[in-house]
Amino acid sequence: MRNTILLVLGTIIAFAVPFMFPAYQNQFAMLWLMILFALTWDLMGGQMGYNSFGNVVFFGVGMYITAVIQRDLYFDIEEYAHVAGRIDALTPDQYLTGIFLGMGVSGIVTVLVAIILGAGILGLRGHYFAICTLGLTIAAGEIASGIDYIGAGSGIVTPVFPTELMAKGMFFYFVFMVLAVGTFLTNKWMLAGRFGLAVNAIRDDEDKAEAMGIRTKRYKTMAWATSAFFLSMAGGAAGNLFGFIDPINVAFAGATFGVWMVLMAILGGKGTIWGPVIGAAIFHITQELFWTYLFGWQRVALGAMIVGIVVFFPQGIMGFLRQHWPHLFGHKVDEQTTVEQGATKESEA
């Protein structure tokens, strides 16, 4: 009953926010994107123990595929170079077809990419996996900035949003909301069943999980492909929200989005359902405050924040709550049994 009320209330707030704060629509759209980042990372890093710095690769790939489809559907490259920044370049219908087709295609393509990459990379363990994926992100950025077809180092300008449709911020707010909620529900649904048990077994001890007959490779690939699917669709939309794609600083941004998604999941508490959501919200607000009040030094502050969170708060908010108020999570301490167990232990000693 209480949950239903909360759910209804949450839905109402989520739908009301862009109308109540029209000036902050982009900010709230970004907030949904951050939540999606944290959730997709947590499926890999938190639940499965495969700490990846490379998930942002799929984000970038999705971004590029969507932008290229939007461009090539209605223009050839020469022509596009002249109309890219023009408001009337695409009609609303063309724009919607382009963006949703692009997002769909990039979702499918990145799942395939994840499966192919996963065949090689997902066999790596622990820190080798972490550093390999870090290398993957930077390699992807460097390769993308050498290919002329996708604009090389100067990137691609995405088509201008046709404002007669609705406000740009409003459109992307709902796109990202649908994607983030979709990711959340998928995570929840997948983790509730056999998949969740298998993935957690892999996190706890992969060799034992293998010995118990769990087909670890299949589950690892599934988790990676799921992350890739949602990340690439979000990437496609994000490219349009930002308005232009730069290979190293926007698409394959290992030092910003790539680290932030790890950080948000850890801040909230990795390996929990709600942790990444809370972590993303807090991180996004803090980061915006840094941007406003520490301008010029905001990135330095972010670096310090990474170190601070990782060193002093590695259990995350959910972990902290669980430690201090276990009854909130349904962990009950039966005082009578505890006392009895203590007594037997003492008598044995």
């Binding site: 090689g120 820190h127 550093i131 390999c132 290398g135 930077i138 390699a139 180092g153 972010l302 670096g303």
Partner: protein, 300 residues
């Protein structure tokens, strides 16, 4: 790409040029990798901030040179400064993650690396900087091959420096304590070795090695606030191939990597040189895993 390759076949003298340049820069990679192997072996920490220490060492040498200090002193000064920086970083952050899960320490050092990048970006701007050594260039083979003397000087000093560190590790009391801790930290503690101090010294010595390498890098090559991660990845590759605590293998892999990178930069074009390094990392790790996997015979 094909055109560049055919140049190499038509004019083999370019091969000599690339080979010399590659070997001379490779010694620096080996030096940095040796520091990483030291920290990895002793503390079981992969220091992602390795490259940032190199770049910071370069900036220190550059700054003191701008103050009018003789360039020769740049190397010892950045050695000392980076030793202190390493000590401070250990006391502030690393000592709290030594016993933690490996991913926490990777993430913490990655955070330090981002912090240092941004600090250097604020202090020295994002421009590419070099330090003119004022030394001449040798022209060999009818002026077809150029070898700048500073590269040779840096090659020799990297080797001398590496050997000095190795002798220090073998002979000195502290070196013995460090090696004992690497073998078994618990047993070392029982024997009365203050492992916390050993860790601090190891991390600081590593930072100091990086600082010295950085002083050579700024004279032979360039420094830029965001160029550090490439050094980290290079040393990681070298250590993965060479293994921990094998200085000979580290030197060979370092020289090989330097040469390979130079050839790749020439054949693929300079814009793909970084892409080559980072892709090579992925390839090496996947290949290593494939080889291990064949022996392990895991369920597929």
């Amino acid at each position: 790409m094909i055109a560049n390759l055919s140049i190499l076949f038509d004019a083999p003298i370019f091969v000599v040029q690339l080979l010399i340049d590659g070997l001379l820069i490779g010694a620096l990679f080996a030096l940095v990798a040796y520091g990483m192997a030291l920290v990895w072996g002793v503390m079981n920490i992969i220091n992602i901030a390795q490259g940032e220490f190199v770049i910071l060492g370069g900036y220190v040498a550059l700054t003191v040179a701008n103050w009018g200090v003789p360039i020769v002193l740049g190397l010892p000064i950045s050695f000392i400064v980076l030793f202190l920086v390493g000590w401070a970083v250990y006391r502030a952050v690393i000592c709290r993650v030594v016993d933690e899960d490996l991913f926490i320490s990777i993430l913490a050092t990655f955070g330090i690396s981002i912090l240092f990048q941004q600090l250097m970006n604020q202090m020295f701007t994002a421009d590419v900087r070099t330090l003119q050594s004022g030394l001449d260039t040798w022209f060999l083979f009818d002026d077809m091959v150029t070898v700048s003397q500073i590269k040779v000087v840096s090659f020799v000093s990297a080797i001398v420096f590496g050997v000095a560190v190795m002798i220090f590790m073998r002979r000195s009391r502290l070196g013995q304590a460090i090696r004992a801790t690497a073998q078994n930290a618990r047993a070392a503690r029982i024997m009365g070795i203050d492992t916390d101090r050993v860790y601090a010294m190891t991390y600081s010595i590593n930072a100091a090695i990086c600082g010295a390498a950085g002083a050579l890098v700024v004279m032979t090559w360039f420094v830029q606030p965001f160029a550090g991660l490439a050094f980290t990845v290079r040393s990681f590759m070298i250590v993965v191939i060479a293994g921990l605590g094998n200085l000979g293998a580290v030197a060979v892999s370092g020289l090989t990597l330097g040469t390979l990178e130079n050839f790749a930069g020439f054949i693929l074009g300079a814009e793909f040189q970084m892409a080559f390094i980072f892709s090579l990392l992925v390839v090496i790790l996947v290949w290593r895993n494939y080889r291990l996997g064949r022996e392990r015979k895991v369920l597929r």
